[in-house]
Symmetry: C2
Subunit: 336 residues, 2 copies
Amino acid sequence: MFESSTIKDIARALNLSTSTVSRALRDSYEISAGTKKLVMDYAQQVNYRPNPNALSLKERRSKSIGIVVSEVANHYFSQAINGIESIANSRGYTVIITQTHESVERERTNVQHLASRSVDGLLISLSAETNDVSHLEQLHERGLPIVFFDRVPERINTYKVIADNAQGAYEATNHLIQSGFKKIAHISSSGHLSISIERLTGYTQALHENGLSINPEHIKNCPHGGMIQDEVETAVKELLSLQDKPDAIFVAGDRLTMGCMHVLKKLNMLNPTMIAIAGFSNSDVLDLFNPPITSVFQPAFDMGQLATEKLLELIEAKFPVTEFDREILHTRLYIR
Amino acid sequence: MFESSTIKDIARALNLSTSTVSRALRDSYEISAGTKKLVMDYAQQVNYRPNPNALSLKERRSKSIGIVVSEVANHYFSQAINGIESIANSRGYTVIITQTHESVERERTNVQHLASRSVDGLLISLSAETNDVSHLEQLHERGLPIVFFDRVPERINTYKVIADNAQGAYEATNHLIQSGFKKIAHISSSGHLSISIERLTGYTQALHENGLSINPEHIKNCPHGGMIQDEVETAVKELLSLQDKPDAIFVAGDRLTMGCMHVLKKLNMLNPTMIAIAGFSNSDVLDLFNPPITSVFQPAFDMGQLATEKLLELIEAKFPVTEFDREILHTRLYIR
DNA sequence: AATGTTTTCGGCAACGTTTGCGTAAATTAA
DNA sequence: TTAATTTACGCAAACGTTGCCGAAAACATT
């Protein structure tokens, strides 16, 4: 159907051998200037492009990397993807993006699929459901380069790129406290996720340092990170029906923040006099809200770039890398 | 580095020929039941996965399709991508997503790259800058299956999947009129885009039918579809400084709508008593705004699905397809 | 003129897979 | 028992590319 010319075609047309054509195109020293020009001109003319599948087969690498995120509609991830692409493309790599929609099942199939597609490496942020990472451990042990970002597992020893979630959460919670709120609740994604744990740490630290006690009832988890709106709605409603009703909520995620606001809107309580909100979000629409929402902004683009650089380092390493670090990037509080 | 077992390995281990193994795995009738079981069990055991590159090389197809959109951060596109993935994955295809960020230059390189990556087909929504589609025409003439969606070119004869932009624009404009606004401006993306033309048609029709005259000064274009915020800011400010100052704006795009609101917010005019807004958008955060924004919702997911079905129809066609249609899906006005 | 060196190119194998063809062995038919 | 047929498998080529090895031609050295 869609045929493009091959090195063989060129060889036939020019009455040369395929090896000569191959070398001429790669500007090898053992080909005369005349032949080189002949070949290159002709290749240009017929718009020759090397077949990447043949290359991959031969070189045993595909020059592609797989990305696994929750969903591209999340501004944090879309910005991270932009960062990933900027590095990957400039280094000649194609990226294949897959979405888990926070389902561990889809994470497994995506990872399986990417691996069997023979990507050279994987860039992953775990799904909210993911507790058991054995599917990734296997691949990692078999030598597939993997770099985790944002939501990282404890167990697997490789590069990890994360934001300073504790610090970000601390600042956001502290901001709410400084703004005069005293009873601050916390809604977070799945409790076992690294980001949830770290953000919870920041939250509790802020309360502590301000001499506020922590009410366990004020801490809610949504196991599907906001993908299931019912979970968010239940969490918010439970908070609101508490005897010790909170006057503010620190929400630990982009999608969760939106979900939370939808619930409050529905309850006609989207108003800081009713209940205030601060969240983790990379969306710039937050300041269009009335009232605008203070949020912790993560350097998503930079994180994507850094993670990709680390991954390419692994992929292109001459010798197996055994020493890995954990890069922690600073967040920034947008006070609105 | 990351080696997986091949048919050869299995053959060697089982003392069989590669052809026997291959046939056994494909459950060929010319292999005895015993051998089949032997092979399949062993393949299972070593977690054999066929090498996709070898397959692609042999079958001359990659079982992958390329997607070209402006940016995944746009809710219309992210939803369309979900639709595309749902069909593509269920049919065994991998999707490679690329973003133009509304630049025709990036569109060219992306398309080039995808073509040389030997995708089996392309799913494209043109960038705002794209006027000349010769880079796509070339590939299309050489036989690469292409389906356009959302922003489609006039010239290239293939399947096209679009929303009823004129109708959507008509309804949104009409809604503003029915809400009592009399002087309705229009901010749109690049003027040559199909969506811009169609939405302009709906806008003018609504004004006409309501006996309102059309002021050319009320119609503004942003050649980069909102990617360059300065363009949006200039457009809005020009509208506001007009003698015949509009009392409402119909904004023809997701990103443009957000951009527009940011400008108004900055000018402290984000208020329907100052100026009202209705837009094209698939984002669900619009009703979190105060005041909420009425918007035209496109069936993005369905459009993605339909476009993919059409593309796979082209890819898997036995004979060249010459008859193409233009699928038009209905929009829905969310009155907020 | 004979030998040694370059220069320039072709042949072949290999990457992992499928498939048409060939063919021993096993089975059936005569 | 012999011939015809079926069963079950192996061989080799092909997809597009590169790299090793070999070799003809051109040139340089005695």
